[in-house]
Symmetry: C2
Subunit: 223 residues, 2 copies
């Protein structure tokens, strides 16, 4: 297996995320996520597909998927990222809205040895501070039932499992509202037409969340 550069690792990570639901990732979607021009993405996809071994399967105008080799690289980088986020919060006193950017740079340069040491001092955590699953050393992912907040029926009691990690302003806001992994709440109203879900947390004023945000908050249904 050849060494991969930071840009290559970023592409693979992005493709991994965009193909979670099984469908190929489009050139434009990748370009948007990475803030690159689509033409640059096309060039890189061709190179990724031409590598030995190929890291993606690329059908012109139909998008890309990861090969097993590409998925391994992606999961390795994601493991680094989430272990680092956890480490920065737990051991270095970072706030949870500060760690994404730092982890995005460090994830490409830490050795396997360092990955192993970080995992060890953290006690091999399975979830990062935002509730995202951390791939294990063998690259398998801890599985659990999770549903976006937008798909839970009104009236349900829920526990927050996961929030997005890449928007510092949103994270500060969620923190101020005490909406963190572990927080329990009731769905006061679920209004698809208005695209708002309203949460009620133990005796505090109701919290309305628009669907663009609600779709990124994953929860488990308690009752």
């Amino acid at each position: 297996m050849q060494k991969t550069s930071p840009p290559v690792q970023d592409y693979l990570k992005t493709i991994y995320e965009l193909t979670r639901e099984g469908r190929p990732a489009s050139t434009n979607a990748i370009a948007e996520r990475l803030r690159l021009q689509p033409a640059s993405v096309t060039g890189m996809l061709q190179r990724l597909a031409a590598r030995q071994p190929p890291l993606v399967t690329y059908r012109k105008r139909h998008g890309v998927q990861l090969t097993p080799a590409g998925r391994r690289v992606a999961l390795e980088v994601i493991r680094h990222h989430r272990l680092l986020e956890t480490f920065l919060v737990e051991k270095l006193g970072f706030r949870w809205d500060e760690v994404h950017e730092e982890a995005c740079r460090l994830e490409h340069v830490i050795s396997e040895r360092m990955e192993e040491r970080i995992a060890a001092v953290l006690g091999d955590p399975l979830f990062d501070p935002h509730g995202a699953p951390i791939p294990r050393a063998d690259l398998t992912l801890p599985q659990r039932e999770e549903l976006p907040l937008t798909q839970v029926p009104g009236g349900s009691r829920i526990r927050i499992l996961r929030v997005p990690d890449d928007d510092p302003a949103l994270l500060r806001r969620l923190d101020a509202l005490q909406l963190r992994p572990g927080t329990e709440a009731r769905i006061r109203t679920q209004s698809p037409l208005e695209a708002v879900v309203t949460l009620e947390v133990a005796g505090r004023p109701p919290i309305p969340l628009g669907y663009p945000v609600g779709a990124l908050v994953f929860v488990e249904v308690l009752s």
Copy 2:
């Protein structure tokens, strides 16, 4: 001040080390340290001198020196490197021969915020595990008297202050011989002609060190 790339930071760090004694660093010396071709170094020196602000002063065929701006970058990177080495040993359980390479990659990507956090959890250390001085946040260096082992008269009692950090095999050997910063010893013989200095550590067999190694071990003279 423009952002500097990892290669640029490596050049500046190397030039800093090569110019410690005040004389300009030669193209070849830099090439050798960085394992690059001299022609590549010439190209980079021209670019470093042409930057705004210039990071080096470069006189064709006479070598380079750092400008104040270049020195600041070098010291910043060296601070990162030595804080990281200390952190990896103290907090992540690395051995002292494992940390140099890891620090060489991390030093280019950690944020000022992370530098600050690492320094804080370590209690703002002034020396790294190999005894090298860590530039303070204001980039001043802790000063102390130190002499290479090769320049201490025979019979002196000494304390080891500093060993080189970049040779893992040598570090393992020194560790096995219990020659670490803090170790006290007596100079049993100092033989410039044979180029050997022999140390005696509290009731253990004498340890002969050749001058190429002895010149890299810095000590303070106790008596």
